[in-house]
Amino acid sequence: MSRVNIDLPGLSMKNPIMPASGCFGFGEEIGKLYDLNELGAIALKATTPQPRYGNETPRVAETASGMLNAIGLQNPGLEKVITEQLSRFDTIETPLLANIAGTTMEDYEKVAEALSKTGKIGALELNISCPNVKEGGIAFGTDPQLAAELTKRVKAVSNIPVYVKLSPNVTDITVIAKAVERAGADGLSLINTLSGMKIDRNTSKPLLANSVGGLSGPAIKPIAIRMIHEVRHQTELPIIGMGGVSTLDDILDFIIAGADAVAVGTANFTNPFVCLELSQALEQSLERQQINHLYDIRPKEVHLR
């Protein structure tokens, strides 16, 4: 037992830090920069049944302390993910969290079933909240009944734990959280990006080819913290928290607010070594302060689990 290891359904993590889905690809590039065994877990880029090119460019835009992205779920498709991407992890012990997206419930079922059968995935993460694709599961993310039904159906075809990744673009995130909890979800990931827009004044049009994009980065951290705090008090499910994390202080804030593990997204783009650096800094900091385990920094009320 180290000061930082944690055990979540399907994810036995040596530390609470993982790259967030879509901000690490399938580990190919960053795997060349450092040993991926140093990470607590790895959330893979969203996989859809068929290959997707995604949206046209520009796909990113900068905002104050944030960025908008509208990649549009570009990915090589289920088959190639299994044949070409997963083998990279054969020699890596870090558990994988496979992010799944689709247009229909059948899409999710198909990808979930196939990926869970590979035996290489620790848990699934249902991306029911990607704001960048019209058919990208956004209705699933905002309608508690649809979210619950999707969760149930995916659970039925998967032999590994299922996390549901919640959208912040809702009136009350706890309603969705409780709906998927009742439907059998094993954990929650939050938050996905907030829907935003930037104007290109040269053209007087939205800058992103897709018009709307997902806002991520430090700008959204207070919203993420609030939502995690709310959800923590309403469900018993483990929470993978994310949204604007880039420093050790951010990690601690998320743990205190109620996250059980923390995912780092946008910060990987500014510093590809950030997840490694944070993992090391966290352990050192706890050691220096002689805190036996990370969760000891949480206030009592948060110890629901």
């Binding site: 901000c23 190919e28 590039e29 905002t63 590809p272």
Partner: protein
């Protein structure tokens, strides 16, 4: 590829809003090909959040120094222009593939065409080509005389033609006008500059041997985020793509959709 706090050795305006910056660090030892770029974090805080891709203009491996040229225009590049000598700047690089100088044989005539802030990587390229024994002809296009730079540098390496769109310096018009007027002939063409310029060149010389360097808005700069993709030309179903940051920024003539 390294992430390094490089030391600023110089940072000065050499034309209107155009800065020449000399950076020192171990990262220089890893630079291999002309056309590679740096991804520069211009702030120590979250505004601006993203790095800025800037081409390497020349390197001095002995001194562990490299030079970049950039236009101080938006938030990030303007901030970059405020760095002073001996301060450090957070750099990721070298990134990208660079120009395929290995394909060039001694004695070949290579035409380099640069537009505006696309000119910098061509300088390193011209130097390497000359060292290889190639003949270098350079055509540089700028919008007006205030933003012309490095003409003299290129002159030491071969014939140079400069045009400005408003005719205020050198030839009047676009780079393609100069090439026509001067009836320039060449074995190979390397180009870097705005997309309309690249497109005009491809339309004019559809079958030339050569490469072009592309710009696209980037997130990571290392191939992770898929922000910077472009389509390929022979791709009936539109699903093929290249990442400008890691497959490029230099692509073979005719490979990607401009």
């Amino acid at each position: 590829m390294k992430k390094e706090d490089m030391i600023v050795r110089d940072n000065r305006e050499i034309a209107q809003d155009i800065y020449e910056m000399v950076l020192e660090g171990n990262l220089v030892g890893e630079v291999e090909h002309p056309g590679e770029f740096l991804h520069i974090n211009t702030s120590r805080h979250s505004v601006p959040l993203l790095r800025r891709p800037i081409s390497i203009c020349s390197t001095d491996k002995q001194k562990s120094q490299l030079t970049i040229l950039y236009r101080a225009e938006g938030q990030g590049t303007r901030l970059l222009s405020t760095y002073r000598t001996n301060e450090t700047v957070d750099v990721l690089g070298p990134l990208g593939n660079g120009f395929p100088v290995g394909d060039v044989s001694p004695g070949e005539t290579v035409l380099l065409v640069g537009g505006g802030i696309g000119v910098p990587p061509l300088y390193d390229l011209a130097t390497v080509l000359r060292r290889k024994g190639a003949t270098v002809i350079t055509v540089l296009g700028f919008s007006n005389k205030n933003v012309v730079f490095y003409e003299n540098h290129f002159q030491k390496l071969g014939d140079v033609y400069v045009s400005t769109i408003d005719g205020s310096f050198g030839y009047d018009g676009f780079v393609t006008d100069v090439i026509d007027q001067k009836k320039l002939s060449f074995d190979r063409l390397f180009a870097c500059g705005p997309v309309p310029m690249l497109r005009a060149l491809e339309d004019k010389y559809p079958n030339v041997k050569g490469s072009l360097s592309l710009e696209e808005r980037m997130g990571c700069g290392i191939g992770v985020c898929l922000a910077c993709v472009c389509h390929t030309q022979n791709d009936p179903d539109g699903s093929d793509y290249r990442k400008v940051c890691s497959d490029g920024p230099v692509f073979p003539w005719g490979e990607v959709v401009l």
